[in-house]
């Protein structure tokens, strides 16, 4: 029986095919990825839209902070050393939150990689997203794969010149928009955009935009897959994190081999034949230009477009989807063991029922269920715990903090009336959006009195210190006490700062030191 379905054969070869290996200094072979369509392509469009929207829109979101601080929802205010993220405000003293975020990023990487392999590379990496965007432009201006190949080979003509010009101009515009959006995270976006356009912004803003325009254009438009293959450490790192349960884009040769083109004589004649019709559609759509049928490769970013391309072909010839699929190595090996004949060659008839020709039930095709296992669960639990702990701390954190630095040079000063004096720099962090007065007092130091540096007031047992809205008040205070009242050379005591209106208070453990007594 001759199947009448026409399957397009692509004249395409993987860029990293063995016989293509070059001597030293290989020129890049340009890749012209064909547009794929299917569930993974739809998912990628969606993720691309969401990530690009997050990137471009975030700086324009407003968040009212009561006038004492910028009203930009997300802002890295380097000048004033503040990081604003919606209701959260991070001071430099709280940099450990960034350490926490890095820990989360690390565990998140373990989690994602152990579950779904290099999903980061295939879906969300800026390089992938922007290359995808640049390819949309290329397709729009120059046409589909075949038209682009033809245009590349064509002699220079007016048509070729304007198409090339249009493509590069649009790429550069995207580059400018990318670099432009970046700087809005560091300053008030509406103000900055006006300054940028009128030429009044700081030189560093223009330089940043220029550098990011260049990198976006060069990486997204010119270098593309070479960034992933040659420059990026990710493929090397993530390769080491996969295990036999991780989902990776896999060509299932246990049902695909031996491959023979559709409708070729030997296939029709009933030779041992797998599902692969050797149409090369998987290679044609690959943005990395590789052949997934060669097995797992460093170059593969697991974007799954080959799955879409192959599923479309399988649908046409009435076979099950999933000749190329997300599969775990363990499952793949089990299925291979079923398919391998005694002679060690793949016999696809062993994985198919005789009647009806469907795939047998004993095969291991878990799909996304492979994600559910202890390793990923532990990673996810850890990741969530750290996340919730940090969020809890950030949202319920104090609006008052006290830091005290004990003078080191000199540690103590002998006074003429026999008292000993220690100096402290007291820093009160007022994180509320209003100026406040605090009372600074001491606890646990007998007979201690304090004065403020730069004044000649009489020593008292407490001081009133003002701190502006969202500001740090730094005051040098001198504490004096009589050594005979103290039992040791080093006496622990507490500085206590109280907002008497709101009742908020903070304490700091400090030391009071006196000279060795004779």
């Amino acid at each position: 029986m001759v199947d009448q379905t026409r399957i397009e054969q692509f004249d395409v070869e993987a860029v990293n095919a063995r016989e293509r290996r070059q001597p030293l200094y290989a020129a890049r072979r340009k890749i012209h990825p064909k547009r794929a369509s299917g569930q993974y392509r739809r998912l990628k469009w969606l993720i691309m839209a969401v990530t690009l929207a997050i990137y471009y829109v975030t700086p324009w979101l407003r968040w009212d902070r009561g006038g004492h601080a910028p009203d930009q929802a997300v802002l890295l205010d380097l000048e004033h050393r503040r990081f604003y993220f919606f209701p959260i405000e991070i001071w430099p003293q709280e940099f450990y939150y960034v350490a926490g975020l890095l820990v989360m990023a690390g565990i998140g990487l373990f989690f994602v990689t152990s579950a779904v392999g290099r999903a980061w590379c295939g879906y969300t990496c800026p390089q992938t997203v922007w290359v995808d965007l640049f390819l949309v432009v290329e397709r729009f201006v120059e046409g589909e794969r075949n038209a682009r190949i033809k245009l590349d080979a064509a002699a220079w003509s007016m048509d070729k010149v304007w198409r090339r010009l249009a493509k590069h101009v649009i790429w550069l515009v995207i580059g400018v928009a990318t670099g432009g959006a970046w700087i809005f995270y560091f300053a008030d976006a509406p103000t900055l955009v006006a300054a940028l356009l009128s030429g009044e912004a700081a030189p560093v803003a223009y330089v940043t935009v220029a550098i990011l325009t260049a990198t976006t254009y060069v990486f997204g438009g010119l270098l593309r897959e070479q960034v992933c293959t040659y420059m990026c450490p990710w493929p090397r790192i993530q390769g080491a994190m996969l295990d036999e349960h991780s989902l990776t884009v896999t060509y299932n040769d246990w049902r695909g081999e031996p491959r023979r083109p559709h409708n070729r004589a030997d296939r029709i004649a009933g030779a041992v034949t797998g599902d692969c019709v050797d149409c090369n559609a998987c290679v044609a759509v690959c943005p990395m230009g590789i052949d997934i049928r060669e097995g797992q490769q460093l170059e593969c970013i697991t974007c799954a477009l080959c799955i879409d391309a192959c599923d479309a072909v399988m649908g046409k010839i009435g076979k099950e989807h999933g000749l190329i699929s997300y599969a775990a190595l363990g499952d793949y090996n089990a299925n291979m063991a079923i398919a391998e004949s005694a002679a060690g060659t793949i016999d696809p008839s062993r994985v198919r029922n005789v009647d009806g020709g469907r795939l047998i039930d004993g095969l291991k095709i878990k799909g996304l269920k492979a994600v559910l296992r202890p390793r990923t669960f532990v990673y996810f639990t850890l990741w969530s715990l750290i996340g919730f702990a940090m969020l809890g701390l950030l949202l319920t954190g104090d609006n008052l903090d006290l830091n005290v630095l004990h003078d080191r040079n000199p540690v103590f000063v002998q006074l003429s009336n026999g008292d000993v004096r220690n100096g402290y720099t007291v820093k009160i962090l007022n994180k509320r959006s209003g100026a406040r007065s605090f009372r600074l007092s001491m606890e646990g130091l007998k007979g201690a009195l304090m004065t403020r540096s730069g004044t000649t007031e009489d020593p008292t047992d407490s001081l009133v210190i003002d701190a502006g809205a969202d500001r740090l008040a730094s005051v040098k205070v001198f504490v004096r006490s009589r050594p005979k009242a103290l039992s040791a050379q080093r006496t622990a005591f507490k500085f206590i700062v109280v907002d008497e209106t709101l009742g908020e208070q903070a304490a700091y453990d400090a030391w009071f030191e006196v000279p060795a007594q004779p």
Partner: protein
């Protein structure tokens, strides 16, 4: 695209790539091709370095180096930045210059600036004797405490810095001199011991009560005119207070006896002419802010 040449080198079976031919205990290196973009970047850096050598000072000569077409010099850049910093400070420095030093204490902006500027001037000019924390050393007064030989008001501190102490080159220098009672045989050895005991008694230090009592008359006769009848000190005469626990030359019996026998006298240069009035004011404000200011 030419087909790869026939390669006589060993080919790695796993990757199909020729090896470099080197062998380190069985470890061989694959001879993968360099990507073209990498090569271009490498050439670009070479071109860049050539331009750099021409544009900037680069090649060392015997006593100098090539100047470069741009005429760049890091020293000129520093001079430019210092000039900019000076220009930025000019306003507040002028304000400090025309504000009486006592008034600076009342102006928070001037006070803050003066303390910072005074701290750095102190580190450069004063820390050699008084220590980087101004806590002094034997013979060099501690400026953190509230015991002042020449008064601790900010005006008087400024005057001390301006004119120095026992400084020959300045007529307005602070001056006091204690007679060398031992060397010049004004008191004999026993008398010195009695006076020293009396001084320790005044300071509340451990002493021989009988000797101290015997020394009282000697003290009244020889010392009280400068140090005051009770040893409380007379600043106008430059006579230090002897009743507090702060001792410039030590509070041991031998230290005190040595000081009576043949006293040491510290000298501080007059800084007014060398540093200028603005810096002197800043130093005075800084020293005053250390905690003992009156």
């Amino acid at each position: 695209m030419s087909t790869p040449e026939k390669d006589s080198r060993e080919t790695d079976t796993h990757s199909g790539v020729a090896t470099t031919g080197h062998d380190w205990d069985g470890i061989k290196e694959l001879d993968n091709p360099l990507p073209r973009w990498w090569l271009w970047t490498f050439y670009a850096t070479i071109v860049w370095s050539l331009g750099y050598v021409i544009a900037y000072p680069a090649i060392p000569l015997l006593t100098d180096s090539t100047k470069g077409l741009l005429g760049y010099s890091s020293r000129a850049e520093v001079a430019k930045e210092i000039a900019m910093a000076d220009a930025g400070r000019a306003g507040i420095l002028a304000q400090i210059a025309e504000t009486p030093v006592a008034e600076i204490l009342k102006d928070p902006a001037l006070f803050q600036f003066s303390v910072s500027a005074g701290r750095s001037a102190f580190k450069v000019h004063c820390s050699q004797c008084h220590g980087s924390g101004a806590s002094g050393a034997p013979g060099y007064p501690n400026l953190n405490d509230d015991d002042w030989l020449w008064s601790g008001s900010v005006d008087e501190i400024a005057a001390t810095i301006r004119h120095g102490v026992r400084f020959a080159g300045d007529d307005d220098s602070r001056y006091s001199e204690m007679p060398a009672f031992g060397r010049d045989e004004l008191l004999d050895k026993e008398q010195i011991a009695l006076v020293a005991a009396h001084v320790r008694g005044m300071a509340g230090l451990e002493h021989d009560a009988a000797q101290a009592k015997a020394g009282q008359a000697l003290f009244a006769e020889n010392c009280a005119s400068c140090h005051g009848p009770g040893g409380e000190g007379i600043r106008e005469n430059g006579g230090p207070r002897l009743t507090d626990p702060i001792w410039l030359y030590g509070d041991g019996l031998d230290d005190i006896k040595a000081q009576i026998r043949e006293p040491k006298h510290g000298v501080m240069p007059a800084w007014g002419a060398r540093l200028g009035e603005t810096t002197v004011k800043q130093l005075a404000v800084y020293v005053h802010s250390l905690g003992g200011g009156e």
